[in-house]
């Protein structure tokens, strides 16, 4: 019986009498595969067509919907590992990677480069460059954000951004959103940082660069990467002047603006950013 069933299996795979592979002859396989080939080609064609029509309806410079970006996100630099900045002051290699990423990150902000590429705009007002009807006013100009504006955290006077002295700098940026106007009446939004929960007394004094930790209004609105190729995202640097050592400090920085809505409770990074700082010092 076992013999019979095994030959049955073999027959089901390849039947030498009828020349059937898996129950189909070559021509039968050919026909069905041809059918599926044609059918799927047709489907692919139809899909490409509908996608093409859909893409035609899109604007090249501005996405159709931005309602999910009402409150812009915030992010820190260096990002650390999962937003944890942990280092030992005495161990160079523990903060070396932070300073290196900061160097790389800040290289487009070099004053020489900025002066060459971007405009020196009038501060505290939006840098609006309207299109006139169908005629695009492109490429749009961008305002200079010079590295030197970060002063102590620019990595110029202290090329270790304070990490070597237990006074680390953390850069804070506001996510780019096309057309966003983050303030009014000439008041620029500014960043404030604080410690969360019981870590309040561990934080110590902070220093903000540029002064008051403002994102100047002249950097807004953003016109998108196609129209405003050289856009330079403004930064705020926070320097922890005397943070407690050998302890975890949960820091939250948030944007203060008179136009931006507060983000939803669920989104921990809309209009604010949280990270953990730990400075080890022996």
């Amino acid at each position: 019986l076992r013999k019979g069933s095994s030959s049955e299996w073999r027959d089901a795979f390849w039947n030498p009498r009828t020349h059937e592979l898996l129950g189909r002859t070559a021509s039968s396989w050919g026909l069905i595969l041809l059918f599926y080939l044609v059918f799927y080609l047709f489907l692919a064609g139809m899909f490409v067509l509908t996608m093409y029509i859909m893409l035609l309806t899109l604007d090249d410079y501005k996405p159709t919907w931005q309602d999910r970006l009402a409150t812009p996100g915030m992010m820190i630099h260096p990002k650390g590992d999962q937003l944890e900045i942990t280092f030992s002051v005495s161990e160079t290699e523990s903060w070396d990677r932070f300073t290196q990423t900061l160097n790389t990150f800040l290289s487009p902000y070099n004053d020489s480069y900025q002066v060459q590429m971007n405009d020196n705009c009038p501060p505290d007002q939006f840098f609006i460059q309207e299109d006139s009807g169908e005629v695009r006013n492109n490429p749009k100009r961008s305002c200079q954000f010079n590295r030197s504006m970060l002063e102590e955290c620019a990595g110029i006077s202290d090329r270790f951004y304070g990490y070597s002295r237990g006074q680390p700098c953390v850069l804070i940026k506001l996510n780019r959103v096309i057309g966003m106007l983050p303030g009014k009446n000439g008041q620029s939004p500014y960043v404030t940082c604080g410690a969360k929960r019981e870590d309040g007394d561990k934080l110590g004094p902070l220093a903000y660069y540029p002064p008051n930790g403002t994102f100047n209004l002249m950097y807004y609105p953003y016109y998108g990467k196609k129209a405003q190729v050289n856009y330079t995202q403004p930064l705020v640097a926070v320097k922890f002047l005397n943070a407690s050592v050998n302890t975890d400090i949960n820091v939250e920085c948030k944007i203060n603006s008179n136009t931006l809505e507060a983000g939803s409770e669920r989104d921990k990074f809309a209009g604010r950013v949280s990270f953990k700082l730990r400075i080890n010092h022996t």
Binding site: M54, Y61, P63, L69, M75, I178, F269
Partner: protein, 1067 residues
């Protein structure tokens, strides 16, 4: 009889008549008459069974042939499997007491022929043998039943899925810090679905079994025993072996007894042997076989008339009845066809799932995923293939059908048995009623030397003869008066043909015919008061009644008579022609014979009618007619005419037939020929031998399409010979079969791959009922044992319900196919997102929660609504499905659902996904390869195609909006899918949209989708987000494409029957 259900052949009835005509010419008169009477008797039997279920008395008119059987039945030769006990039970009865003398029996039981047992002895025996009652079949504990529902068939698939989910979650929990809860939720939901569906079907079946319990006879039986010389009435349970017992007409025999004396005692053995006739009992041993001999009466059979005294030889489970009951409860039953189909379906689904899973596992490894990730993917893909909602859908569909059948008095004990009747290829029954519509109507009449067609139209528009003819009026008067049938009260508003009649089938037919053509029969009967009546019986084969005449001045009495035409003719000396009484001469007799034969040749049951006005001088007013000792003239009558009736054959009733009956072979064969089970063109080996005048042994058995097998011959047949008989003969009669042999026949048919239904009411049928794929028992006339053994019970004993069952079964099979095709289709748009997520590294287009919302939410009602779909064509004209070829789910269904429609659906969903992401700033080109960053919680400045930056939560909201849109798109494409799944061959335009539940389902799923998308709080509860109105329309072109594509496919399918499209896509 075993009916092989095939396409309707209206032809076979005519063939019967040809046979009758033929036999009438070939054989001496008497034979022919017997055959006619057999037919008559047989149908009468039926009527009694249906109308008076408890009566077993009226079956007295069929023709009986005593056969001699030399050998006692012995065990069938081989039986595979089973314990020794079961083999022993399958052997024939070991009773020997019938061959002993009375003294020997007395000695054996230490009893006395006059005094009976002593009380002390009786008590001793009672302790030794236990009470005289059947051990109830071991009842399955409730929790076992519940577990069966929980772990049977389809549930296994879901359980496997759930376990895999938990496994995947465990792996994730062990390796990741924050494992995604999806697998855990999915596992929990799968478990919940199985448990809830299990509970549902458990309670559904519990409800049926509750109805079963109500059948149980609560009245304790009494028995009259003689102990220590005194007659005492005791509980039947206390009867012991050796007790001297007295039974009289109407009693149920309390144990197997050896008759020691009898006075006109007749017992009805029908529930044991299937013999329709009461059999007389006497003290003499007349046969070696205890079942045949006259001096044994059996437990639970009825004593019909007379009295008898006997010694109890067996009690309780040791009785013949008890052995059958024990055999029945010990039988293993196979899986129902639908269970097999679901198993096959699970194989296919598992095959596809494992194939997909392994393919993408390998792909994932090649793409550089870690082993653990790849294993999670593998499990995810396998689980994604599990159609979560299908178990519930199938259960609900079956329940709906079961309910629908229960409304038609067809109680289904086991949900899965609902479909079985539809797949049935062979019905075993000893009831001819299964064959015909059981709706006897008058078809022809012969009077004035002419055959007239009866007008059975309600408005009498089809009259074909002169209604004012005196002969016709006389004939109508005889038919109306000599007739005990009457309309049941309160039906005056109904059309005559639809009214219920109390009375037997042929009398009802006459009543309706006369009522239709001559007006109220009741008024006629009121005008002609009945003074005397002799009801029909088998010795006279006529029925007569004496009435006053309508004319108050005429004091003569009118005697009317109807019966077998030749018997009636024998009593007539004159005949009414054109209203004139003429002497019956040879010429008129010849005319009568021709008419009789012609009508008989049409396969109709012919009755003769005659009357006479009794002379006033002999029978003055007030004459005391004595019907017992007939004191009046019953011959020299005046022949009026013939009327013939037909019970139209049912649609979808068998063409090739085998018959299983307890009757004697000759009776059985005659009945079989009478009702068309053996049709005219087909001869048995014996017939051929007789025709060619050669010995039986020289006839090639292959030449004979028909075959009559004696039950006792079965034991001499090897399995191969048995198969040979079943395979090579289309029309087989098994006669004189014992319960054990019926079982062998059922097993034989099943061995040949047939799906066998057995109908029966007797205890003798119960082993076969149990073994059959579906046993159908009678609710009123059936014995408890048979009802226990059966899967389905006809609550009103109406055979028409079986046809309902076949129809409903076939319909639900078709509709389940559609339902499954519909449900499976959405599997592809559910799996492909995950595959692309793995392969192309795009954000996940459809999440677990939304998949569950489809499978357990929006897909449910439309899938169930397909169970309400009406048949596409006349399903009763179809051949029964071949279980080897005609699968519930086949590769063509998978090809259509997965390969074609499912793919279009997936494209619809993906299109919506890309639209939403693109409109939010992520163009398709940006998406490819974005997955790792996209799903990184700490990346909160992910750049889109426009240079904007997104936090994790912001882009996840867009992703979940995509899930919602993908979900809504599936709902949109499923609109088209449910519409195309309504039909498998016809166009939707032919089928129409009359299925209200389906239309409701369309609105319901849309409303549910809108609710899930827009209801506040859904973003937190299910992570589903409101869609912009335009996003609802993304899948519309694809929905339309599905509809057009499938209509074209079905058009090609109809245009080229048997063509490539049908071979590759007709599921």
């Amino acid at each position: 009889m075993i009916y092989k259900i095939q396409a309707t052949s209206q032809g076979h009835f005519t063939r019967v008549q040809h046979y009758l005509l033929y036999s009438a010419r070939q054989k001496p008169h008497g034979e022919f008459n017997k055959a006619r009477w057999l037919y008559f008797g047989c149908s009468q039997l039926l009527v009694h069974t249906v109308r008076m279920p408890d009566s077993t008395y009226g079956r007295s008119d069929s023709y009986r042939v005593a056969t001699t059987q030399d050998k006692a039945d012995r065990s069938p030769k081989k039986k595979k499997g089973g314990t020794k006990d079961m083999d022993d039970l399958k052997k024939e009865v070991p009773i020997t007491e019938h061959k002993m003398s009375i003294e020997e029996v007395c000695r054996k039981f230490n009893t006395d022929i006059v005094q009976g047992l002593t009380n002390a002895k009786a008590a001793e025996y009672l302790i030794r043998d236990g009470p005289n009652a059947l051990t109830p079949p071991p009842t399955t504990p409730e929790w076992v039943k519940f577990c069966r529902q929980l772990f049977g068939g389809f549930s296994i698939l879901l359980w496997t899925g759930a376990i895999l989910c938990f496994l995947a979650y465990a792996i994730q929990a062990a390796t990741e810090d924050e494992p995604a809860g999806d697998n855990l939720y999915l596992g929990i939901v799968l478990t919940a679905v199985v448990v809830i569906t299990g509970c549902f079907s458990y309670f559904q079946e519990a409800k049926s079994s509750k109805i079963m319990e109500s059948f149980k006879n609560m009245v304790p039986q009494q028995a009259l025993v003689i102990r220590e010389g005194e007659k005492v009435t005791i509980n039947a349970e206390e009867v012991v072996g050796g007790d001297l017992i007295e039974v009289k007409g109407g009693d149920r025999i309390p144990a197997d007894i050896r008759v020691v004396s009898a006075h006109g005692c007749k017992v009805d053995n029908s529930s044991l042997t299937g013999e329709s006739e009461p059999q007389s009992r006497s003290p003499d041993c007349t046969h070696d076989n205890p079942l045949e001999t006259r001096n044994v009466a059996f437990f639970s059979t009825n004593c019909v008339e007379g009295t008898a005294r006997g010694i109890v030889i067996c009690t309780g489970d040791r009785t013949v009845m008890g052995r059958i009951a024990t055999l029945t409860s010990g039988l293993e039953t196979g899986k129902t066809p639908i269970a097999k189909e679901i198993e096959h379906f699970i194989h296919i689904i598992t095959g596809v799932a494992v194939f997909l899973g392994v393919t993408f596992f390998i792909l994932a490894i090649i793409l550089g995923y870690s082993w653990l990730e790849a294993v999670i993917f593998l499990i995810g893909i396998i689980v994604a293939n599990v159609p979560e909602g299908l178990l519930a859908t199938v259960t609900v569909c079956l329940t709906l059908t079961a309910k629908r059948m229960a409304k038609k008095n067809c109680l289904v004990k086991n949900l899965e048995a609902v479909e079985t009747l539809g797949s049935t290829s062979t019905i075993c029954s000893d009831k001819t009623g299964t064959l015909t519509q059981n709706r006897m109507t008058v078809a022809h009449m012969w009077f004035d030397n002419q055959i007239h067609e009866a007008d059975t139209t309600e408005d009498q528009s089809g009259a074909s003869f002169d209604k004012s003819s005196v002969t016709w009026l006389s004939l109508a008067r005889v038919a109306g008066l000599c007739n005990r049938a009457q309309f049941k009260a309160g039906q005056d508003s109904l059309p005559i043909l639809k009214r219920d009649v109390a009375g037997d089938a042929s009398e009802s037919a006459l009543l309706k015919c006369i009522e239709l053509s001559c007006g109220s029969v009741r008024a006629m009967r009121d005008r002609n008061k009945k003074v005397a009546e002799i009801p029909f019986n088998s010795t006279n084969k006529y029925q007569l009644s004496v009435h006053e005449t309508e004319d108050p001045n005429d004091n003569r009495y009118l005697l009317v008579m109807k019966g077998a035409p030749e018997r009636i003719l024998d009593r007539c000396t004159t005949i009414l022609v054109q209203g004139k009484e003429q002497p019956m001469d040879e010429e008129l007799k010849e005319a009568f014979q021709n008419a009789y034969m012609e009508l008989g040749g049409l396969g109709e049951r012919v009755l003769g009618f005659c009357h006479v006005l009794l002379p006033e001088d002999q029978y003055p007013k007030g004459f005391a007619f004595d019907t017992e000792d007939v004191n009046f003239q019953t011959d020299n009558l005046c022949f009026v005419g013939l009327m013939s009736m037909i019970d139209p054959p049912r649609a979808a009733v068998p063409d090739a037939v085998i018959m299983v009956t307890g009757d004697h072979p000759i009776t059985a064969k005659a009945i079989a020929k009478g009702v068309g089970i053996i049709s005219e063109g087909n001869e048995t080996v014996e017939d051929i031998a007789a025709r060619l005048n050669i010995p039986v042994s020289q006839v090639n058995p292959r030449d004979a399409k028909a075959c009559v097998v004696h039950g006792t011959d079965l034991k001499d047949l090897s399995q191969d010979q048995m198969d040979d008989i079943l395979r090579n003969h289309t029309e087989i009669v098994f006669a004189r079969t014992s319960p054990q042999q019926k079982l062998i026949i059922v097993e034989g048919c099943q061995r040949l791959g047939a799906i066998v239904a057995v109908t029966g009411d007797g205890v003798n049928d119960s082993p076969a009922l149990k073994k059959a794929d579906i046993g159908v028992a009678m609710g009123i006339s059936g014995s408890d044992v048979s009802k226990q053994a059966a899967d389905m019970i006809l609550l009103d004993d109406n055979f028409a319900s079986i046809v309902t069952g076949v129809e409903e079964g076939r319909l639900i099979f078709d509709n389940l196919k559609k339902s499954i095709a519909y449900t499976l289709t959405s599997n592809i748009p559910e799996i492909t997102p995950f595959l692309f997520f793995i392969i192309v590294n795009i954000p996940l287009p459809l999440g677990t929660i939304t998949i569950l919302c489809i499978d357990l939410g929006t897909d449910m009602v439309p899938a169930i609504s397909l169970a309400y779909e009406t048949a596409e064509s006349d399903i009763m004209k179809r051949q029964p499905r071949n279980p080897a070829r005609d699968k519930l789910v086949n590769e063509r269904l998978i090809s259509i659902a997965y390969g074609q429609i499912g793919m279009i659906q997936a494209l619809g969903g993906f299109f919506a996904y890309f639209v939403i992401l693109a409109e939010n700033g992520f163009l398709p080109s940006r998406l490819v390869g974005i997955r790792l960053n996209w799903d990184d919680r700490s990346t909160n400045d992910l750049e889109d195609s426009y240079g904007q930056q997104w936090t994790y939560e912001q882009r996840k909201i867009v992703e979940f909006t995509c899930h919602t849109a993908f979900f809504v798109s599936i709902v949109v494409v499923q609109w088209a899918d449910v519409i195309i799944c309504k039909t498998r061959r016809n166009s939707v335009f032919q089928q129409g949209m009359r299925n209200k539940i389906l239309i409701f389902g369309l609105f319901e799923e849309t409303a549910l989708a809108a609710f899930l998308s827009y209801c506040p709080g859904m973003d937190v509860a299910l992570r589903m987000y409101p869609l912009k109105p335009s996003w609802w329309f993304c899948a519309f072109p694809y929905s339309f494409l599905i509809f057009v594509y499938d209509e074209i496919r079905k058009l090609l399918l109809r245009r080229n029957p048997g063509g490539w499209v049908e071979r590759e896509t007709y599921y």
